[in-house]
């Protein structure tokens, strides 16, 4: 081509054209795929909530299988009996509570506003589960999860996920052996005060058979992610304590 690519004017025109082309390409991709992506995210939330209360397709010991995307909406309305929003102690029902963005609520609370706390009441085999969403910081990025509790705030199931923890290290919070360790752990002391659960290193109980030590075994090489999990359990679930007291 006979164009002089070293000229300043050519460089500027090329840069502008490139930005326009790439920018519109990305904008077009993003907006045309948005409905699909939103739908996937919505189904993922329902799958996560159901997973925490034990409604899932797990077969083997290491499986993490959600209910299929084709049935998730039906299963969600079948098992989740009530979706509550707790705001300043007022409890309201809200069919779309599962869509509440915990990140936005946390920011609002930090700026002095009141935080809406979603809570999902599920029923399976005659047992009642109270499932609360939690969110916090890992090493690189956000971590979040859902914790299913019974009315005494004993853990009946968890689901954790992360945006960008290191594969093989912090990303293992999403493994069955880590999530399952929380089952049966207590959040409250005998006296009913909130204590939380610590992801502890050098735990004397690696098989996690002692269920009233308020500790689960940490992941090797993932101290900061583990601390993040402890912190989000303590900070976020504590907010639900007043509601659980009304259940007694």
């Amino acid at each position: 081509m006979a164009v002089n690519t070293d000229k300043n004017s050519y460089t500027i025109i090329f840069a502008i054209a490139m930005v326009l082309v790439v920018g519109s390409l990305l904008a077009f991709t993003a907006s045309s795929l948005r409905p699909n992506i939103d739908e996937n995210k919505r189904m993922e939330k329902q799958q996560n909530i159901l997973y925490a209360m034990g409604v899932n397709g797990n077969e083997g010991a290491g499986d993490i299988t959600f209910v299929g995307t084709d049935v998730v909406a039906d299963e969600f309305s079948k098992y989740i009996k009530k979706q509550l929003v707790i705001e300043n102690g007022d409890v309201k029902e809200d069919e779309e509570a599962y869509l509440i963005d915990i990140k936005k609520e946390q920011t609002r609370a930090k700026n002095g506003g009141t935080r809406r706390l979603p809570l999902f009441v599920g029923e399976k085999d005659g047992e009642t589960f109270y499932i609360a969403p939690i969110r916090g910081k890992g090493l690189w990025d956000a971590i979040w999860g859902y914790v299913a509790l019974d009315k005494d705030m004993v853990v009946k199931g968890t689901f954790f996920d992360h945006a960008g923890e290191t594969p093989g290290l912090g990303a293992n919070i999403k493994q069955r052996y880590f999530m399952d360790d929380f089952y049966g752990e207590r959040l409250l002391t005998e006296a009913g005060a909130f204590k939380g659960i610590t992801v502890a290193k050098g735990n004397a109980d690696p098989k996690n058979e002692i269920k009233d030590d308020y500790e689960v075994d940490a992941l090797a090489g993932a101290t900061i992610t583990g601390d993040g999990v402890s912190a989000m359990i303590k900070n976020d679930l504590k907010l639900y304590l007043p509601y659980f007291k009304t259940l007694k």
């Binding site: 070293d6 460089t11 992506i37 996937n40 290191t166």
Partner: protein, 215 residues
């Protein structure tokens, strides 16, 4: 001779061994350290880079005569970033589970110096077909090292391969654990990736003396 001429085939086979991007050119080390604690992550990263480098090399090669040399690095960066983001968006819409596995790698792919290195060193001066082969070759060379490192780190660090326990159960003390073997948690730390890469370089250079530089 088959599909490829000898010269073209060399573009693919060279980076696999004697001109390997990681062990010889020492590029892409950062991502090799970050994600090789697991074999699965290594494999996914290898495939992702294969895809981006193959297509990116072709795109840059097609544009090679019209890219202003003053801003060519920025143009290369934009091509990689746009490619990775589009792929990520498409996966999010149609293969949501896969996109969640990949999300960690998006940033790592954009900053992978192998990609920029091949754009700069090869695609800017060669035609699209050659550039495509060069991209595939280098990505494979990268993936091979990643998989070797991932294999040893996951096996010795966690006693698993692709997440499946192969050495027995460390808590129940079955398999090799019954005779006192322990997982080496240090293998999961990034420095051990560097040491494993170093060992590979050592083995490779002792087998092929031509690779040793004179001093």
């Amino acid at each position: 001779m088959g599909l490829l001429s000898k010269k073209d085939a060399k573009l693919i086979t060279d980076p696999l061994a004697d001109n390997n991007p990681i062990t010889i050119q020492v590029l892409g080390i950062c991502s090799a350290l970050a994600i090789t604690a697991e074999l699965k992550a290594s494999l996914v990263m290898g495939i992702a880079v294969l895809f981006v480098l193959g297509i990116g090399n072709v795109v840059i090669s097609l544009m090679r005569n019209i890219i202003p040399s003053k801003i060519r690095i920025i143009v290369q960066l934009i091509v990689v970033a746009a490619l990775v983001i589009i792929v990520d968006q498409v996966l999010k819409a149609f293969a949501y589970e896969l996109s969640k596995t990949l999300s960690v790698f998006v940033g790592l792919i954009i900053t992978n110096c192998i990609i920029m290195g091949r754009f700069e060193a090869f695609a800017l001066g060669n035609g699209p077909w050659k550039s495509f082969l060069d991209g595939i070759g280098n990505a494979l060379g990268y993936a091979v090292i990643l998989i070797i490192v991932g294999f040893f780190r996951e096996l010795l660090g966690s006693g698993t391969l692709f997440g499946v326990p192969v050495l027995g159960d460390p808590i129940e003390k079955t398999g090799v654990y019954s005779i006192g073997y322990e997982n080496n948690g240090f293998m999961l730390m990034p420095p051990m990736a560097l040491i494993v890469v170093g060992l590979i370089i050592w083995v490779q250079r002792s087998r092929n003396k031509a690779l040793i530089e004179d001093h």
